[in-house]
């Protein structure tokens, strides 16, 4: 009897919206422990679209 082994992947990714008390807002995508700065347009795109695969494997 043959057996098939299926390997899965886990991806955890995170986004940050930082609102300063002075009214400014900063947007980041977290990647490998670093904050990648996003524009609001980029942030909105990533938040509203399917998660993109990047180096976020568990």
């Amino acid at each position: 009897m043959s057996q098939e082994t299926v390997f899965g992947e886990v991806e955890v990714n995170a986004f940050i919206e930082l609102k300063r008390k002075n009214g400014s807002t900063e947007y980041f995508m977290v990647c490998n422990g670093e904050n990648l700065t996003l524009t609001k347009e980029e942030y909105d795109y990533y938040i509203t679209s399917k998660p993109i695969p990047f180096d976020g494997a568990n």
């Binding site: 299926v6 390997f7 899965g8 992947e9 886990v10 991806e11 955890v12 990714n13 995170a14 986004f15 940050i16 919206e17 930082l18 609102k19 300063r20 008390k21 980041f28 977290v30 990647c31 490998n32 422990g33 670093e34 904050n35 938040i47 679209s49 399917k50 998660p51 695969p53 180096d55 976020g56 494997a57 568990n58």
Partner: protein, 132 residues
């Protein structure tokens, strides 16, 4: 291999329990809370707590702040407000407002915050077959 974010062992065990009819629990009987801290230690699947959780109360993540942006992805969204000058470099999703199990731990770039600054975290956990 990512170094900044981990789905922890206890988070994985919870998911497996939810797939098992013998151990699955109803949605109303478990909760999620978002927390943040100043620790920068690289996350590991064996982590059970943030390295240095900040003083702010954990934010309860209501069902309305969870979604599935894709059929293989669950998303938590939570906002935390700094109540003092804070350095924030890690966040975690927990099962309780204190202690509890930590499902996910993420380390990010350091954020220097003042009282009243807010951070909204959007965390995605995707499970997929490698053939996809």
């Amino acid at each position: 291999m990512a170094t900044g974010q981990k789905w922890t062992d206890v988070g994985q065990a919870f998911a497996i329990d939810q797939l098992d009819k013998n151990t699955a629990v109803a949605a109303a009987s478990f909760s999620y809370y978002g927390a943040w801290g100043s620790g920068s230690t690289t996350p590991a699947v064996g982590d059970t707590a943030l390295v240095s959780e900040n003083a702010e109360a954990r934010t309860a993540i209501a069902a309305g702040n969870m979604s599935q942006p894709a059929s293989d992805t669950v998303r938590w969204v939570y906002l935390i407000t700094a109540t003092g000058t804070r350095t924030v470099q890690e966040t975690g999703i927990f099962s309780a407002s204190s202690a509890g199990n930590m499902h996910v731990r993420i380390v990010h770039g350091s954020l220097a915050l003042e009282s009243g600054d807010t951070v909204t975290y959007t965390v995605n956990l995707q499970l997929k077959d490698t053939s996809e």
